[in-house]
Symmetry: C2
Subunit: 234 residues, 2 copies
């Protein structure tokens, strides 16, 4: 499959391409990012995003999936390209261009064993340790993107289990936007949109009374996007 450089591109210089993943997870009211302690040079022992190099016979998006899978064991995860970072000195060891992605995962589904063997740890988005290279910049950009996208697209649900309660959903949005929301208005909006479906069962973890479980309504969302109706979460 691998193509050799054709005559008309012979003068050009190939460059190393990395892919780095900002992995978001949500635990108990807190929005977190998964970081790894590097066990290789350069930057051995420092915290960094999970990353790897793009292979010559590998599509870029698939490389991001591979890298995410290596750390979490997950497939079929929300994954979106963020930005390409191409400053000359960004990697202290060599010229490496990095394409950053961000992922939203449901923590319960991830493989804890894997993350442990890779020396990975969750950090609250408000309390990220010093990171290697320009990884901090990537995290900041990813958070901003998540904030913006979560207003108009239902990506928040990616961070929750299939069944969730309205208070849980609200807490998630509060964590994403780092602000408190009015529970009456929040409930009103989300229910009015028709995008969540009530179940009979209650979740009793959060309170004595218990809160009803809901499901995200994929069909309704497809219907709304097709009809071009714009949606306002939060």
């Amino acid at each position: 499959m691998q193509k050799s450089t054709p005559p008309f591109y012979r003068q050009e210089t190939p460059i190393l391409i990395a892919v780095d993943c900002v992995i978001f997870g949500y635990h108990e009211g807190q929005l977190n990012i998964l970081l790894v302690k590097r066990d290789f040079e350069p930057g051995l022992g420092q915290w960094s995003l999970m990353g790897g190099f793009l292979k010559s016979n590998e599509a870029l998006d698939l490389a991001a999936q591979r890298i995410l899978n290596q750390l979490t064991g997950l497939t079929n995860v929300y994954l979106e390209q963020l930005h390409a970072y191409g400053d000359l000195q960004r990697d202290t060891a060599a010229r490496v261009l990095s394409v950053a992605y961000y992922a939203l995962i449901n923590v319960k589904n991830s493989n804890e064993q894997l993350t442990q063997t890779q020396h990975a740890e969750w950090f609250p988005i408000n309390n990220i340790p010093e990171l290697i290279f320009d990884h901090r910049e990537m995290c900041d950009k990813a958070w901003k993107r998540l904030q913006r996208k979560s207003l108009s697209q239902p990506i928040g649900f990616e961070l929750l289990p299939t069944r969730f309660t309205i208070p849980q959903l609200q807490q998630l949005y509060e964590a994403i936007h780092n602000e408190t929301l009015d529970k009456r208005n929040f409930r009103k909006n989300i229910l009015l949109s028709g995008l969540i479906t009530k179940l009979e069962e209650k979740n009793k973890e959060g309170s004595k009374k218990g809160a009803f479980y809901y499901l995200f309504n994929t069909e309704k969302y497809a219907e709304l996007t097709e009809s071009g109706t714009s949606i306002q979460f939060k």
Copy 2:
């Protein structure tokens, strides 16, 4: 300055990186894109975006500026990264990852001689010819981005001369969003924001009565962004 690959990266394969520019210009009520007729292989004779290869000693953003400058003679232009395209087969001749940028230029300032010697031509955004590789996808994404960004940031002004009239500005926004706007509401909003300053002189090109010239107010914009006030154009 050029670094050799250090021992810990030796197993990795470098890849060719291209930079492609979606160049927007606005002429007489029409939003256009600047395309070049390729005079080299692959795709000789086909329309494509202006592009080039990233050099090993060149920062990514500067490569985009260089490529834009090669075609237009312009520097200090609004230029923003769009997306990295990394499918395996996107370039028919070799494995090339491309980072797309989009630029907003004031057509009057560009160097017509240069664009002519490069076999470049302006095409209305609604009537783009068949393009090489995935360049059409880049154009579509760039237009959507321009539409979104122009609502919350004053990037439309980049496409106009320093002095412009309100009807001109409205026409530009109509072209960007491909819809007609109410002139009373448009004028009201933009004046209320305080972001444009009226001049004494009139532009008589568009009508017998003539329309007053305005300037974009950079200080006011800085003030608003600093105070965190969100702005609604259009």
